[in-house]
C-alpha cells in the first residue's frame, strides 16, 4: 500500500506566511497561558506529599476529608484515582511544620477509622530543597540539550539549518508546554523527560528534511531555493507521515493501557509528535529560507590540493 502513488507536488512553501502566522498565534497563546496561568507543577517540583491508597470497597471522599481534617490536615486534597476504590491524597509542604512524617501520620489516621485493610499503593514525599533542585536541573537539561543540538547540526550542516532546527524545537517545546498550561495538566518529572524526548524526536524529523534539502541543492541544477525546498518536502512527505504515524500508534497504546503513572508522559509525547511533524515541514524549512539559505552555502567545499591526493 502507498499513501501517494507518485511523488506529490504540494506547494508547501507558498503557504508559509500562513503557517508562520499560525505558529506565531499558537506560540503567543502558549506564552500567554504560561505567563498568566503557569504550569500545574507536580509534586516533584513543588515538594509535598502524595499518597495513593487502595480500599477494598468504594470510598466516600467526604469521610476521608473529615478524618484528615481532624488529624490536622485541613488543606489535604483528596480525589479518586482511576477507580472509586482508589484515592489520591495530596498535601502541600506546610509552613513551619516538619514534612517527612506526614505520610505515616495520614496512614495512621485513616487506618484507625477503617475496618478493612487499606492497601498502601504509593507514597511520594519530596522535600522543598529537593523540589527546587529538580526544577533547576530540569530547566538546565533542556537548555543544554538545545545548545548541544545547535552545535551538532551547525557542525553537520550549516548554521542556518542549525538555527532553523532549533527554532522548530523551541516552537515544539513552547507549544507542548502551552497545552499543559492551558489545560492545567499535571507537569511532573516524567513529562519533563517526555519533552526532552520530543526535542529528540522533532529534531529527527527536521534532520531528515534538511538532509534531503541539502542533497537536492547539490543535485538539482534548476529552480529557486523555494522550489528545491518544496521538492524536498514532497519527497520526504510520506516518510514523515509514516514515522509519525507508527510513533503515534505506540504512544496511543501507552496512553490507553500504560496506566495512570505514565499518562502525562504519553500526553506530552503525543502533542510533541503532532506539533513536531508539522514544524519539521513548515517551521524548520521556513526559518532556513528566511535566513536566506542558498545553493552556494551547501556546495561541498573543494579544498585546495584535494585532487592531488589521488596522485601516488
Amino acid at each position: 500500500m502507498q499513501l501517494f502513488k507518485k511523488t506529490t507536488t504540494f506547494d508547501f512553501m507558498s503557504k508559509r506566511t500562513l503557517a508562520v502566522t499560525f505558529s506565531a498565534l499558537l506560540i503567543l497563546i502558549s506564552i500567554g497561558s504560561l505567563a498568566t496561568r503557569g504550569l500545574n507543577f507536580g509534586l516533584d517540583f513543588t515538594g509535598g506529599t502524595l499518597i495513593e491508597l487502595g480500599y477494598s470497597h468504594p470510598v466516600d471522599l467526604r469521610v476521608v476529608r473529615s478524618t484528615l481534617e481532624k488529624s490536622g490536615f485541613p488543606e489535604a486534597v483528596v480525589q479518586h484515582f482511576g477507580a472509586s476504590k482508589d484515592i489520591l491524597i495530596r498535601i502541600a509542604p506546610q509552613e513551619g511544620k516538619s514534612n517527612a512524617e506526614v505520610s505515616s501520620r495520614v496512614m495512621t489516621a485513616l487506618r484507625s477509622v477503617e475496618d478493612g485493610e487499606i492497601d498502601m499503593r504509593r507514597v511520594e514525599f519530596v522535600g522543598p530543597q529537593v523540589g527546587d533542585e529538580l526544577a533547576n536541573d530540569g530547566g538546565l537539561a533542556m537548555i543544554y540539550a538545545l545548545i548541544c543540538i545547535l552545535i551538532y547540526v551547525g557542525f553537520r550542516f550549516e548554521y542556518r539549518f542549525a538555527i532553523g532546527s532549533v527554532a522548530a524545537l523551541i516552537h515544539d517545546v513552547i507549544i507542548t508546554l502551552g497545552v499543559f498550561s492551558l489545560f492545567q495538566l499535571d507537569f511532573d518529572l516524567t513529562v519533563l523527560a517526555a519533552i526532552l524526548a520530543v526535542i529528540g524526536y522533532s529534531l529527527n524529523d527536521t534532520i531528515v528534511v534538511f538532509d534531503r534539502i541539502r542533497e537536492n541543492f547539490r543535485k538539482m541544477r534548476k529552480g529557486t531555493s523555494v522550489d528545491i525546498v518544496n521538492a524536498s518536502l514532497n519527497q520526504t512527505l510520506s516518510r514523515t507521515l509514516m514515522t509519525s504515524f507508527t510513533t503515534l500508534l505506540v504512544l496511543i497504546a501507552l496512553f490507553v493501557v500504560g496506566g495512570e503513572l505514565i499518562h502525562g508522559f504519553a500526553t506530552a509525547l503525543i502533542i510533541g509528535v503532532v506539533v513536531g511533524t508539522y514544524s519539521s515541514i513548515y517551521v524548520a524549512s521556513s526559518s532556513a529560507l528566511l535566513l536566506g539559505i542558498s545553493k552556494e552555502d551547501l556546495m561541498p567545499v573543494v579544498k585546495e590540493g584535494d585532487d592531488l591526493e589521488h596522485i601516488p
Partner: protein, 623 residues
Amino acid sequence: MNQYPAWKYLLLLVVLVVSILYALPNLYGEDPALQVSSSRTTAVDISTKEKVRKLLQDANVSFKSIVLANEQILVRFPDTESQLKAKDVVKEGLGRGYIVALNLAPRTPEWLRAMDAAPMYLGLDLRGGVHFLMEVDVDAAVHQAEERYIGDFRSLLRENKVRYAKISRFVDKNGDSGVEVKFKSAEARDKAERLLDKEYPDLLIEADDREGGFFLLARLSEKEMRETRKLALKQNITTLRNRVNELGVAEPVIQQQGEDRIVVQLPGVQDTARAKEILGATATLEFRLTDETHDADEAARTGRVPAGLKLYPKREGGYVLLKNRVMLTGDYIIDASSGIDQQSGGPAVYITLDGKGAKIFSKVTGENVKKLMSVVFIEKKTETRMVDGKPVKTRHTVEEVINTARIQEQLSKRFQITGLDSTKEAHNLALLLRAGALAAPIEIVEERTIGPSLGQENIDQGFASVVIGFVLVLVFMAIWYRGFGLIADLALAFNLVVIVAVLSMLQATLTLPGIAGIVLTVGMAVDANVLIFERIREELRNGVSPQAAINSGYAKAFSTIADANITTLIAAVILFGFGTGPIKGFAITLSIGILTSMFTAIMGTRAVVNLVYGNRRVEKLSI
C-alpha cells in the same frame, strides 16, 4: 549484486544467538525465597545451612531448594505463604547474628546462570519498595567535633594545672565557629596556648585580648573541617548499612549522592514508618555520675546550675543534675539486646561493651561504687521547615535521663539498663545501639514508596503497552510495505530481543519510564526502515532496476538515519546526565534502543533482503 559477505551473516547470527540467550532468563519468573546472611559477628557455612534445613523440616515448611553460595543461604519456596512462615521459623531458630530477609529469586536455570545470564533488574517502581534520599547534616558533625574539643581542653588544662575561667563554643558574626577559652591572666593564657599548640597541631589557635579577660580561640582548619564532614558521611553510610541489615532487607542499595546525601533503597519493604524510624534515629546513650548535693528542681526553677554540673530532664518528669564528665558513651557498645528485667518486670536492654569500653567502665564504676549513675538518652534531629517560603534548617537535641541507679558493684563488660517506656522502645534502642550511632543527624528529603500491588500493576501495564504497540506497528508495516514490511517486522522483533538482552547484561535498572522508553523505541525504530523503503520506492518510480533500487535505497538513507539518530541520542544522554532515578531509566532504554535499532534496522534487514533478492534476476519488489 546485493550480496553480503559471509562474516556479516555470521556476525548477525552471533548477535542473535547471544541476545536470545541473555534475554532468556526474563522468561522464567521468580521464586519466593529467603536469604540468610551473617551479620558482623557470625559466619554462614555448611552447618548453618543444615541448621536451616532442619528448622524448616521440623516446622513442616515445604521448600524447593536450599543452596549455600557467596556466604549466603538461599532457600526457595513454592509459595509466599511458606516463605513468610519460614522467615519466622528461621529467624527465631537461628537467633540474632543472622540476617534473614525475604527475597524473590530468579528461576534462571543453572546452565544460563553459568554464563552470568540474569533477568533485568527491576526498579522500585516495578517491584515495590522504598526509596529514601537522606540529607546528612554534616555541619552538625563539625559542631560535635567542637564539643568534643571542649571536653578535651578541659582535661588537658586541668591535668597541667592551668587555671581557666570558662570553655565554650562560639559562633562569630561570619558564621564561623570554634572553641573559646577564657582566662583570668595573660600568663595562664600563654601557657595554655603553648600547651594546646603542641597537643593539637591541626587546630588554628590564636590569642584574642578583649574586654572581660584573656581569650584563646581554637578553630578547625579548612582541611580538618572537610575531613570531619567526609568522615561523618562515611560513618553514616556504614551505620545505615548496619541498620538496614538489622531490618532484614534483601538487595538494599545504600549509596552516597553528592557531598552530603545518601540514597537508601529497600526493595520489598512495606512498613515505611518503621523503616523511617529506624534509619533516621540518632539515639545513643551516655553514662554520667549523678550529683546528690544540690537540688535539681531548684536549679531548674532559677536557671542557676552549679559549676561542673549540667541539668537534665527526667523522662518520668522532674529534673536531675549530672556531672559534666561523661563516664562512657554509646560508642563502645558492641552488642545490645532487649528483654525483660527480672526484678521490675519492665523492659530492659542488655549491653555488651568492647574491651576498651569495658576497661574504662570498670575503672570509673569501681572508683564510684555506692554513688548514683544516670543513663542519658540522646536523640538529635535536623529538620527543614518552610519559613516565609524558604527552607530553613532547624536542629534540636533531645536529652533525657531514662534511668538513675546506685552503682552496687564494679561494672564491666556486660550490664543492663532499665527505665524504658515499652518493650518496643527497648527493642529499637537495642537495635540502634548494635548498629552504631549516626555520626551526624540525617533528614529524609525525598521518599518514594511503591506498594507491591502497584508495582505488579506497573509491570503488567507496561508489558501490555509494549506488546500492543509492538503488534500495531508489526501489522501496519506488513500492510504498508508487504514483503519488505515483514522483513522490517523481523528486524523490529530482533531489536526488542537485543534491547532486553543488553538491559539484562548491563543489569541496568528497568523502571516504568524505562518501559515507556522501550515502547517509544519500538515506534521510532521502524523510522530507519521507513526511510530506506521510501527511498527504494522513489528509486523504483524513477525507473531504476529493482536490484539497483535496493542498493541505492540503503546507501542514500544511511547518513540521514545516522544524523537523525545521533541527535535523539544527544537528548537521551543529556537526560541521563541530569535525570534522577526513573528518568535515568527512560534515558537508558531510549539510548540502547536507538543504538540497537540502527544495527537491526539497517544491517539486519539488509541481510534478509539480500538473502531473498540477492544475486538473481528480480522483476518486481514486494514493497
